[in-house]
Amino acid sequence: MSIHRKYLLAFTPESAKLPVIAVLVQKFGIIPNIMQARVNEKGGRLVLDIEGEKDSLEKAKAYIQEQGIEMKELDKHVSRDEWRCIHCGACVSICPAEAFHVDPATYEVLFNAEKCIACEACINACSPKAMKLELW
């Protein structure tokens, strides 16, 4: 039985060069429907609705993640526990949406939840465990 899932893919400049959509179709028999795209040589994001058998979806997901592309099912959001955040900056370089930036005067790491695309890349990059995933 084929199922639908909606994902957000976040690319680095490197992974943006990979022919992901073609591979999904040819290798995994997935039907992708691009809902939103903002990808160029600097990386970017793609919102994909994909349709296929459950296990080919799992395999396709594993393939995408192996390419270093951050992938996120769009049913959740992340929040920051302000007390646990130590303002290190581990999250800054791995967020594809540039939701974090360092205040040049205080060096504090500011989190802009509006830019966040809930890709979850920061969840396991934040070792004080300040970034938390929550269901809507």
Partner: protein, 388 residues
């Protein structure tokens, strides 16, 4: 210009010591020159707050009735070492909870204790004539313990590497999450604020030096493990992980603002430790050392996808460049992430400065110096014959 430890402490006691942080002193030296700055300033405070795996705490539980000589002990299901006297143990920061999970370990036990939480203690024993009890289970807290002191064999690394990843997959390392194909770069030092950057040859930091440790007072106990003086220097500061400190301090005076458990994905548990060291400005040379800035301090860029201890340095980069948010290597722009907290390092240097201005914290002359020279030996697999 010369100044003694005693003269500085006299001023501290009278509340008129001039104390600046290692960051504040940079602009003073730029403005007035190193000689005038040395005349003016008595002490420069430093700070650092980052992952320091080689950390832990000695705890003494007190004796139960009937008494037990603990054979094995667990704190919130994290094993602690009890191969010492009956009710003493050492809880290591990186020890993981039994069962599965890398999200709770020794560092979390230490953080929970400092936070005043009750921790479940469980122990078993063989039982002896003098210690008949074979099992015990109880909650303990920082207040219920006799002694509880942190003893960290290797902290406050003088400089460290910058991590990158040339492979095709994301790496989860103790240098954080490294994205494939040089996707980012991570570093971990407070640079110009870091204690051992400001006294690079440990002229004033030695055994017995009183320090800020985890929000309370602590001391330098010994040279840290893997103490290394062999790296080449740039602008008077070694490039790469060099000197380290073993430190000791009472857990009971510490705060979770400056001790924080970390779960480093794919690596394990570690602990962020806050350390600040006051540097007495004994002469112009000490002031010159304390005026070091991020522009002058370089770190080697290391590819963590190379699975060998002989990873080559790809390039050297200054902390000033790292702190801009991106660096360039091989014609690529890599975003950078600090793993240690610069705002916390600042806070620590400020806090120590306040303690000294208020006369609450005096500096101490080292009881003995740290080694002038020391190299780190690798572990080569050896037979008994090769060693005896």
């Amino acid at each position: 210009m010369k100044r003694t430890y005693d003269e500085i402490n006299e001023k501290v006691r009278n509340g008129d010591a001039v104390v600046l942080t290692a960051e504040e002193v940079i602009s003073l030296v730029d403005e007035k020159g190193v000689e005038a700055a040395a005349e003016e300033v008595d002490v420069v405070t430093t700070g650092t707050f980052g992952a320091m795996c080689s950390s832990g705490a000695f705890l003494n539980f007190g004796h139960s009735d009937p008494p037990i000589k603990m054979g094995r002990v667990w704190l919130n299901d994290v094993p602690a070492y009890t191969g010492i006297a009956a009710v003493d143990c050492y809880i290591g920061a990186t020890e993981l909870i039994e069962g599965d999970g890398e999200d709770y370990g020794g560092a979390h036990v230490i953080e929970d204790l400092i936070a005043g939480k009750a921790v479940k203690m469980r122990a078993d024993a063989e039982g002896t004539d003098c210690y008949p009890r074979k099992e015990i289970e109880s909650f303990i807290s920082l207040d219920s313990l006799n002694e509880a002191y942190m003893f960290n064999p290797r902290n406050a690394y003088q400089n460290y590497a910058v991590g990158v990843n040339s492979s095709n997959r994301t790496l989860f390392t103790y240098m954080g999450k490294l994205l494939p194909r040089y996707g980012n770069a991570t570093y971990s030092s407070a640079g110009q604020l870091s204690p051992l950057m400001n006294d690079p040859h440990c002229r004033t930091i030695g055994i017995g030096t009183r320090i800020f440790l985890g929000g309370g007072e602590g001391y330098v106990a010994w040279q840290g493990t893997q103490y290394n003086t062999s790296h080449p220097e740039k602008n008077g500061v070694p490039v790469g992980n060099s000197r380290t400190l073993a430190v000791i301090g009472d857990l009971k005076g510490m705060s979770t603002d400056y001790i924080r458990a970390l779960s480093i994905h794919g690596y394990g548990v570690s602990m962020a430790v806050g350390i600040g060291i006051p540097i007495p400005i004994l002469d112009v040379d000490m002031m010159r050392a304390c005026a070091v800035k991020d522009e002058d301090i370089y770190a080697p860029i290391i590819d963590y996808s190379v699975e060998s201890r002989r990873r080559k340095t790809l390039a050297e980069v200054s902390y000033a460049d790292l702190r801009t948010g991106s660096i360039e290597i091989f014609d690529r722009r890599l975003k950078t992430s600090s793993l240690s907290s610069y705002p916390k390092a600042r806070e620590i240097a400020q806090e120590l400065k306040r303690w000294m201005e208020e006369g609450e914290f005096e500096i101490s002359r080292p009881v003995a110096p740290l080694p002038a020279e020391s190299r780190v030996k690798p572990l080569n697999i050896s037979t008994r014959e090769e060693l005896e």
